[in-house]
Symmetry: none
Subunit: 193 residues, 4 copies
Amino acid sequence: MPRTEQQFAAIREKSKAKFLRTALELFANYGYHSTSISQIAKSAGVAKGSLYHYFESKEQLLEAVFMQGLNELDGLFEEIDMEAAPEDKLTQLLDLSISSLQKEKHFWQLYFALITQMKLPEVLRKRLQPVMNEMFTFFNILFQELGAEEPESEAKLLAATFDGICLHYLMMGEEYPLEKVKEKLLGMYIGKR
Amino acid sequence: MPRTEQQFAAIREKSKAKFLRTALELFANYGYHSTSISQIAKSAGVAKGSLYHYFESKEQLLEAVFMQGLNELDGLFEEIDMEAAPEDKLTQLLDLSISSLQKEKHFWQLYFALITQMKLPEVLRKRLQPVMNEMFTFFNILFQELGAEEPESEAKLLAATFDGICLHYLMMGEEYPLEKVKEKLLGMYIGKR
Amino acid sequence: MPRTEQQFAAIREKSKAKFLRTALELFANYGYHSTSISQIAKSAGVAKGSLYHYFESKEQLLEAVFMQGLNELDGLFEEIDMEAAPEDKLTQLLDLSISSLQKEKHFWQLYFALITQMKLPEVLRKRLQPVMNEMFTFFNILFQELGAEEPESEAKLLAATFDGICLHYLMMGEEYPLEKVKEKLLGMYIGKR
Amino acid sequence: MPRTEQQFAAIREKSKAKFLRTALELFANYGYHSTSISQIAKSAGVAKGSLYHYFESKEQLLEAVFMQGLNELDGLFEEIDMEAAPEDKLTQLLDLSISSLQKEKHFWQLYFALITQMKLPEVLRKRLQPVMNEMFTFFNILFQELGAEEPESEAKLLAATFDGICLHYLMMGEEYPLEKVKEKLLGMYIGKR
DNA sequence: TATGAATGAGCCTTCATTCAT
DNA sequence: CATGAATGAAGGCTCATTCAT
């Protein structure tokens, strides 16, 4: 008796998830090019060929890994109370970002490795665009609410600061004083209330 | 014939420089792994084998390329008048950095690609450390002079902002409003003088 | 319950036949090596694994496909009236051959691909031998009846011509003037009656 | 001191020729798909990778092998005295063909394997076309000179016979009575003059 | 018996590196 | 020192076959 379709779907989902997890970790730690399919398979505890049941190619695996990370990100900012005062929104955003950064370290590592390499497959670039736009819009509105003269430039600066902090945190590891830096950043925009 | 030897040395130096320049450009544009020795040799207009007269291996070539960039960086900050007022020093640093960023785009591209990949050969890591320390110390002193309560954290934040701006500039290209962002950044620290 | 068993056998036979048909078509169109088990299974509308219930291996499937074609061929020449005049027998043979060629295009395509590759598994070679011998004997007798001086050589020549025509027809497709060539061939041997 | 360009060209030519020879033999004997690059390299006594200095891919190697065979063929028919009587021209053509068939057995084996498989890369198909046209035209003229009623059909029939004989010779090996069949064929067209 | 996920040997191909000239 | 042909390890990928359900 063959398994039901649902059983098969479950198996597939599980295997696929395992591959995605393993690949994310290895890509993040060693880089895309320095990670071989063999390594991924071995780490995942399966045979090399199995990977190709789920992903057409190594590159497509990378895409899937990255996509998954972006998808999980999507929900993140919906938690922010958009009706709150700008100061609070900024605080919430920072908290959420830092939380994501710490929980999804591998993803963020991969993220910076990818955007830094300018080879981003078109698919990924297209998928990334709206996410970044949303972020930028968020900042823009924030600074408008704060009465900034040039909200756009302010937004750009803040975005850069955000990415810089993430980058430094990922580079230095746990010894990086993420909390302190966060406080200082908040201090700059919200001021010593 | 001492002159002959000098000529040889000169030729050697010239060839080596050409390799370094070519490699930097290709590594920056296509990434280390996606650039083959053949490509570099062809772009440099010499034979593949010749490269190995100057560099032991591809990895060692990368190191040399990166080292050279760092060496050129060393002189950069010596131009700053350390006796000037902190506000002026920050302004000078920003100007110098932006100037370097624009002139040495390839190097900076490679820089971010490398630090992002956490594979930095030990040699490079060691060479990079003092540069970053110097930068950090510079910021630290700056904020002490500015009377900051926690100059260390302030320094970290500013450093992150710096890197973030660089990153975004490199990602977005010339349409990035580097000047405007710079002004905003200066405004935040120097205030509405 | 004997009926159930018969039903099973019927189903089995039907499935097997479907595989054979599909495999013949794909092997003929794309070649043995360029046709994967997956493709066959998908084209046949069943799962890959099922194929192995009916055939031990891909090679054995090929054998079965070819065997089946040869078996169907066996009956073909029995329709010829062996008592007829040699001219008529030749005509009948030609007509039957052309008819088979047109109806079993896939088989003949596979046939030429196989004999051309000199890898013919021993089984097939053994199965093929009597068929070809029968043909040759038929020709031999024919030319004896026609009073040829060297019936053997004549038979060999005619056989070659036969295969050549088939080959060209298969290569050129429907635009090949099969009928005209047939007429010419008949004319050569039967003469302007 | 580097080798001169001519030296390099000589080396390349020699290596390339060795690969072509080896590949032709193996492709002919075992078939394209059943011959691995490893085998070819081993048979040629060189490393696997070396092959790719000369041919972009396995398929391109096949093309080159086939092309070379066709090129050598080109000269063949120029030896025929086109002013001779049709009977003599046919005789000459047959002799030349048989001679080629025996000398270039591997090529002809490959030839039939390829045309039989209907996958002929476009390049090859295009290269083959004029050769076949030339042959057909030759036959056509021949039969016109012989006063045939339908020279086209006659040409088609003769061409088929030619290919059939070749095919049978290649299939049966040296025991095939090539000479006798040739005589018979000549007899049919030239007749008892 | 049917299914399709899993396997792994083997394939084609790339490329850093070596070396004879 | 320069050259580019040669090497061969390693990588990505395919696919016939197996097997648990």
